[in-house]
Symmetry: C2
Subunit: 231 residues, 2 copies
């Protein structure tokens, strides 16, 4: 029962969900705040829409390709460390055995226990390397499609998240009306998003929803104030 | 020698550096691309500056507070799992011993080795729980100030990264000139940033610098094209 709880937590916060949350968090907040900021500084919706769409496209590409690069880097890092562990196991096995023993020593395992474990691990090079990757370096084998999937998911989530607040300016005729509708609509979206995000990550949903909504509104209010000052 | 290499890698990619990279990656790219997009669609620098500053403030708060929430969530998650492991060790010790054995069974450790390890671990509850946190759940104790530091570092890096490309519009008198200076200046900044980022994360510096620069320029070109279409 308890073990299955652990397992559930791990399943829930999958790579896909994590990426949706990353993209949607910024997507719902930044274009909304930018549009809100411009609403206090310009007189026509069309500039807000142009700027909003430019921002969404820029953010989408920057975050999507950023996610792609991060995924690739993670994979290359894993592979180069894997190669290094294979080299070490082949060329300095006694040193690697000592590393195994050191790991177990920190957990209070006796000298003879350390010795036994190091020798048993050393019987199978692949498993030994797996062990070192996970327990010495804390690295898990990344999913091969992670980088590409990450890019698409983060980018799409940012795009959708950004269009929601901006859409209010399509259907209104002044920045002030646009801002009112956008703020109302985005507050609801932020709350709903924050609620599910918190549920998924195991936080208290209402408290989490309030936090996410507050950040969005704070960002928008700050952008509005600064843009009014600058313009 | 080889072990000290591992260690170096870990030291280098510290939380601080990671946060600077997160903030600076988006900060150098998104405000630059937004300004570039607007340059093709509006006729005065002042709107670009207003929109750029609104974006930087919005992004700064969204990313900074987002980093704060993420850090807090990580810490709460760690603490709730820690509590759960202490409960399990106290109330279902045999089940926990079986989990220890299962972990080592996957690495080809013999039944008697598993038994020895599980029994030795069980002598010290704190170390046993530490072991389960790291090796069953893959969780490391987060730094207590991580959330606050993360927020400040990411926010500041985004702010500085965003002001660099935008500054070109302060010193020029038309969007076209602003865009030219900004693109030139930002290309250099992206390259330098990509170079050091790659060095720090152990990638090939020149290849990494080119990738980072390309993403920034792609985002700007896409924003420029779309903004021209929409306006």
């Amino acid at each position: 029962m308890m073990t299955s709880n652990h397992h559930e937590t791990h399943l829930k916060s999958s790579d896909f969900i994590t990426d949706v949350v990353i993209g949607m968090s910024d997507g719902l907040t930044v274009p909304f705040a930018l549009a809100a900021g411009l609403s206090g500084a310009v007189s026509s919706n069309s500039i807000i829409i142009t700027a909003g769409i430019a921002e969404i496209v820029a953010g989408c590409i920057a975050m999507g390709l950023g996610g792609y690069l991060a995924g690739k880097t993670e994979q290359e890092h894993y592979e180069s460390e894997l190669q290094r562990e294979y080299d070490e196991v082949a060329h300095v096995p006694e040193k690697e055995k000592q590393e195994v023993k050191d790991i177990f020593a920190t957990y209070g395992i006796s000298e003879s226990g350390q010795e036994l474990l190091a020798n048993e691990l050393a019987r199978d090079k692949d498993k030994w390397v797996d062990f070192m990757m996970k327990f010495e370096l804390g690295l898990e084998k990344p999913n091969a499609n992670r980088a590409r999937n990450s890019a698409l998911t983060i980018g799409t989530a940012y795009f959708i998240g950004g269009l929601l607040p901006l859409s209010a300016y399509f259907f209104t005729n002044t920045p002030t009306n646009g801002l009112l509708v956008s703020a109302l609509f985005t507050t609801i979206c932020l709350f709903v998003f924050g609620y599910f995000k918190s549920k998924i990550t195991g936080q208290r949903p209402i408290a989490g929803a309030l936090k996410v909504t507050l950040i969005g509104l704070l960002a928008a209010a700050a952008a509005f104030g600064i843009a009014k000052l600058v313009a």
